[in-house]
Symmetry: C2
Subunit: 366 residues, 2 copies
């Protein structure tokens, strides 16, 4: 029997609770679809700061290196909020781990079931059939890691800070390929978002994307939009997009805007795909819910585990090629939720269930 | 009698139509509040490209230099869309004019009358009393003008593009003062938006803003938020903000998101204040509607002139100190619109009127 070897990094807040349920679902899927699990837990984020003094310890890195993928919970919380912004768990865990494993492609489905439109801040008539889009965000380039990135004191005594946004052809081409693959799998189109009227990096982005699509996927409809307009269009009519494709910083902002418009962060999964293949010939990747650690409800057993379960499904699909099992889990979540089993964040008048009950409902539908 | 000397740059599309109505309202306000108008028209944007070969001709610059303020329409349209992004009228007019007059402070009221909540994409129960916030955007710094900004060919033949985001203490302090003034005038609070967990410029931004507020306006409540979270919170609950305060690029994105959430761009005005004072001792400034040239309805006499009229009111307030007249115009627009006189963009079942009729209704209520 095929064995799936992955690292489990539950992190802080609701992370451990929802992770437990997601692992149950994976086990069950393994029994049905014929694979075994071989996973190892490691600390990440706040708990790693507490236990090891750093948010992404070497020991955790080693566990990840010995795995084919990473299933990630979420990190951060009030306990570490007084740390300087760059030392806070989310930042101090995520940026180094992205860098360490060249996780250049962030794939975020923006999915809202038609039965759940109450959850969206948008008027129902704007999204009568829910929402079904995907955001592809470049995740290791741009202004996040570009050098120089520094603060200096000027001659007149003032301080001056500098960040550098940088992109080169090959970085843009490899993420363009992910946008193409995603659009092909959905039978959809791609809208590439940039600020080519102001940024040199965006001029290059637009040029490389245009040429790459023309050469490698002329059949896919490609359009371009400025980022300020995209922020408007997302809030006006999200379904005008199919694959929303953009660079790191714009993707940080737009994918979160997309997330909130989809109603509940408790339902949204994400994949961050690496440049390297794992030993199975699939991309190494990190899979995490889009929501946070929800410290207000942590430890109460009432968090929505669906985002974590759906992230596990993405792991099966992208890093293990278990497409059938992935689709079955996604269908089971949809059936459970649209059938009326709801945690508090998506209850809307229905009785709400706890984390474990939600997990059980997914298992029942698997 | 006091004479208000300003440049009139109607631009393209609906620009000239709504400008005519705004000038009528200004004339009428002058009769009531005791000032005369002395204004000169000049070309800007697409029409300037057609007539002079450039979007911001020297002749137009001279007209502006001889004025105390600029009343701006809007620029761009399908005719010039095939130009490269950086040569398109909006970009080619706005960036040089901002630079030429050091228009460092963009003030954008995000106002939705409670009677007009139908216009917002957000559910009514999220904004039962409409929306009333202000976005203050730094407008001449950051990644828009920072150097180096260039594209080079690497040794391996790839191209690499670079943009530089840069801020220094004094740039941050002068815009912090605008946020303070705005909050004071509203009796409100300030939320400063940055990405201090990733950007050096944001670390400096947060530090300078915190120190400046502590020193100059300790009585004003100041909070900080990451830009990705701000993009979520705007779409979830816009009224949690009072003064939303941020740097150039983030402000470009968030102010447009705010605009669409406020329902109709046809109702939203903006002021871009300069570093220099005019001969009256007020800031030189440029005043423009937040919407675009609306080429689909240009020339039909049905565009909503309210944003242009409200921009003229901001000009009276900021560049001419005519606070009473400004408030009277704002009240007249509100009365006309909430009284049921509506252009097509905000009609919602009511009979819709044309640009001139809308202007007449405002005049009637002045
Ligand atoms: C924590 C932060 C550095 C990170 C980012 O900006 O990428 C987060 O916002 C995200 O989107 O995963
Ligand atoms: C046209 C463009 C350069 C401009 C900007 O990005 O500032 C516009 O989007 C705006 O917000 O006024």
């Amino acid at each position: 029997m095929k064995t799936l070897k992955f690292a489990v990094l539950p992190g802080d807040g609701i992370g451990p609770e929802v992770m437990e349920v997601a692992l149950d679902v994976l086990k069950n899927a393994g029994e049905k679809f014929g694979f075994a699990l071989d996973y190892e837990h490691a600390d990440i984020g706040g708990i790693a700061i507490d236990n090891h003094g750093v948010a992404f310890p070497d020991s955790t890195k080693t566990v990840c290196e010995n795995s084919e993928a990473i299933l990630f919970g979420s990190v951060g919380g009030p306990k570490w909020e007084s740390l300087p912004p760059k030392e806070q768990p989310e930042r101090a865990a995520l940026l180094p781990i992205r860098k360490a494993f060249s996780l250049y492609a962030n794939v975020r489905p923006g999915l809202l079931y038609p039965q759940l439109t109450d959850a969206s801040p948008l008027k129902k008539e704007r999204i009568p059939n829910g929402i079904n889009i995907v955001c592809i965000r470049e995740l290791t380039g741009g202004i996040y890691f570009g050098q120089p990135k520094s603060t200096t004191t000027l001659e007149n005594g003032e301080e001056q800070a500098i960040d550098t946004m940088v992109y080169k052809t090959s970085e843009i081409e490899r993420i363009a390929q992910v946008a193409i693959d995603t659009a092909k799998a959905r039978g959809g189109s791609v809208c590439s978002v940039d600020k080519a009227n102001v940024l040199e990096t965006s001029v290059l982005w637009r040029k490389v994307v245009t040429e790459y699509f023309a050469k490698h996927a002329p059949e896919i409809k490609l359009s371009h939009m400025y980022v300020d307009n995209a922020a408007m269009q997302l809030a006006r009519d999200p379904n005008q997009f199919d694959v929303l494709f953009t660079e790191n910083m714009f993707g940080d902002i737009l994918s979160d805007e997309m997330g909130v418009i989809c109603g509940s962060l408790g339902m949204l999964a994400s994949a961050s795909l690496g440049a390297e293949q794992n030993s199975l010939g699939f991309p190494f990747g990190l899979y995490e819910p889009s929501g946070g650690t929800a410290p207000d409800i942590a430890g109460q057993g009432i968090a929505n585990p669906c985002a974590q379960i759906l992230s596990a499904a993405l792991m099966l699909r992208y890093s293990f090629g278990e497409n059938e099992a992935a689709a079955a889990i996604e269908a089971a979540v949809e059936k459970a939720v649209t059938g009326g089993i709801r945690t508090g964040d998506i209850a809307f008048g229905l009785e709400s269930v706890g984390t474990k009950e939600m997990g059980a409902a997914v298992l029942k539908n698997l």
